[in-house]
Each structure stands twice: as C-alpha cells, then as structure tokens.
Symmetry: C2
Subunit: 198 residues, 2 copies
C-alpha cells in the first residue's frame, strides 16, 4: 500500500493534489492567453485566467521562460524528433535541412512574439534560450553536417548561429503583409548552398 502510494507520487510529481491541479490549470490558461495576447502577455492576465493568485504562478514557474518552455515543450520535442526522420527520408541532406527549417519557422511564426522572446537578452529568458537551443541546435547541426559532407554546402556556419539567424528572421512580420519569414529563411539557406560552377 505504502509502496503503491509512493509510486503514484513519483509518477505525478510528488506534489500535493491541488498543486498538481493548479499546474495543469496554469498551463492551459497560459496556452490560451499566449494565443490571444502573445507570449509577452502580463503575468497577471495568466493568473487571472487560471483563477489563481500571483504567488501560485511564480511558485510553479519561477520565470516566464519556464512557463513558455512548459507550454511549448511538446511541439519543440516534435520538431527535434522530425530532424533525423527527414534526413532519412529526403532525397538529399540539403533538402532535409530545408524541410526541417520550414517546420521550425512555421512553429515560430504561429506563436506570437515567441521569436522575439527567444532572442531577448537578459531578464529571465535564459531558461527559454537554453532549452530551445540545447534541444534544437544539435538537430540542426546534424542536418547541416550531413549537407556539408554531401558537398551541398560550402560555407562553414555554426548551427547555433544559423538557428539564431533563422529565429531573428521570424520576428514581427505583422506590420507588412508582404513580409514572409519562410521566404527570407529560404534565401538564407540558398545563400548557404554551394555555388555551382560559375
């Protein structure tokens, strides 16, 4: 009996029942508010939406970055796992890189303000930065290296730098409807490609 309870605790996180409930409520509320007002939405709004106090939100998610990471963890994970699959199924590493980058760009542009938050210095966004890059840069490096070895890419660019560049290109195209992050990122990748003959 004691053993079963202990196991149940481990599975759910070893926290009090109301704490677990609130954590989930907060995640749902945050996801909803992020869609409505972007990831920069006031913390108070999220707390209000979830029907909890300020203290609660900060106890569960010490920084806003922790909350953002928790909300989007699934999608980031999916994106990371898609990398090797694309590499295996595409006709060339460069094509796989292009498809994977499209996935990443689609993810970023559909999350209002996320791209901007990912680049912002200082504050408490270090966590977000760390998680996103730790998870995705190796995948990007895998594809990049494969393309380089296949002779499709001539320039030696660190994957982290490429990721940051892509992230930057995904910032704020709300003003000009002609701004298409996908297109510009495509151009960036095209520039990376080995120049054939002359």
């Amino acid at each position: 009996m004691a053993a079963r309870e202990a196991q149940a605790r481990q599975e759910t996180g070893r926290k009090r029942a109301d704490a677990r409930r609130n954590e989930q409520t907060l995640l749902d509320a945050a996801a909803a508010v992020f869609v409505e007002s972007g990831v920069d939405a006031p913390v108070r709004d999220i707390a209000a939406r979830a029907g909890v106090g300020m203290g609660t939100i900060y106890r569960h998610f010490p920084t806003r970055a922790d909350l953002v990471v928790a909300v989007y963890r699934h999608q980031v994970e999916a994106c990371a796992e898609a990398g090797p699959v694309l590499l295996a199924n595409s006709e060339s590493p460069y094509a796989a890189l292009g498809q994977w980058v499209d996935l990443f760009v689609d993810f970023l542009v559909t999350k209002h303000g996320l791209a901007a938050a990912m680049q912002s210095d200082g504050d408490g966004f270090d966590t977000l930065h760390a998680y996103f890059l730790d998870r995705l840069v190796p995948v990007c490096a895998l594809l990049l290296d494969a393309a380089t070895e296949a002779g499709e890419i001539s320039i030696d660019l660190p994957a982290a730098v490429l990721m940051r560049g892509i992230g930057n290109l995904c910032i704020g195209g709300d003003r000009d409807p002609r701004y298409d992050a996908r297109q510009l990122v495509g151009l960036l990748l095209a520039g990376l490609r080995r120049t054939r003959s002359l």
Copy 2:
C-alpha cells in the same frame, strides 16, 4: 532689425533661447546614454544626464522614437546618400548593393538595441519606423532594381521586406560571439543572387 530677428528665429526653430539650449543638451545626453546603455535606456536617465525634468524631455520629443530619430538622423542621412554614389562607382549594381548593405548593417550593429527597436511593434515607435524606412527603402529599391535589371538578381523581393529582414538579422548577437550579422546578411544577399548555370 525685425526682419533679421525673424530670420534668426526661423533658422533656429522660432523657439525660446532656453528651449533651444535644452533641445541640444538633450540630444547630447541621449547620444551619450544610448552608447552606454542602449537605445532602451530609461527616459529618466536621459533627463537626469541632461539635468532637466521629465516634462522637458517629453515636450521636445513626444516619443522615444522622436529622440532616437533626432540623434541618428545624420548617420541615416549619410547612409541614404551613399547609395547612389556606390551605385555609380561600383563595377556592378549587385556589388554596390552589397557595399551599401554593409554600411547599413555596420550602422545598426554599433547602435546597441537599435535594430530591435526598429522592428518593435506598437508603442510609439511608429515614428522611428516611418523615418528609417521612408528614407532608406527607396535607396535600397534603387540598388535592388539596378541589380535586377543587370540580371544579377532573379528573385523579386520588395525592398521594404529585404530591409526588414536585414534589420532583423542585426538583432542581438551579444550572446554568441560567433554570431556575425554581416555574414548572415551576406548569405541572404547571396541567396538573392541569380543562380548561375547549374
């Protein structure tokens, strides 16, 4: 006599002497604070540095964008004027475009936070946005069109979109020393270039 005074007023802006003095003081203080703390520095800091009250700064520069524009107007102007000159002196329009873009990138990356401010939505940054783009987009378009007509560029990209993309790439490379905005912008331009043969 009356005529001469009227002319003097027109030249200097038709304002009271202390107002003119304060405007200059504010510009100097802002320039100093911008290099120290970036263009996002608190308005209070600038006021304090200039030794004036909050009211004064807001009367002269209703929004932060007005102040930023005033501080960097000279450099933006110089950049704009360099466009046609480069076009005339370079061996090819595409080369001129590359050199001009380098000028613009150098300007942006040396102004801490300016690139980020230029893209930020809402707030009172509309002025900044308007001025920078109104002044520089036509120049960029001139070079872009010339390169297109020369057959050096195959993709049809609005100059405003290219400018925004370049601006985005200039954001925050402070974290990773390997991040080089110039290099990435170079890749973007390379991607724009017509692919020779195959």
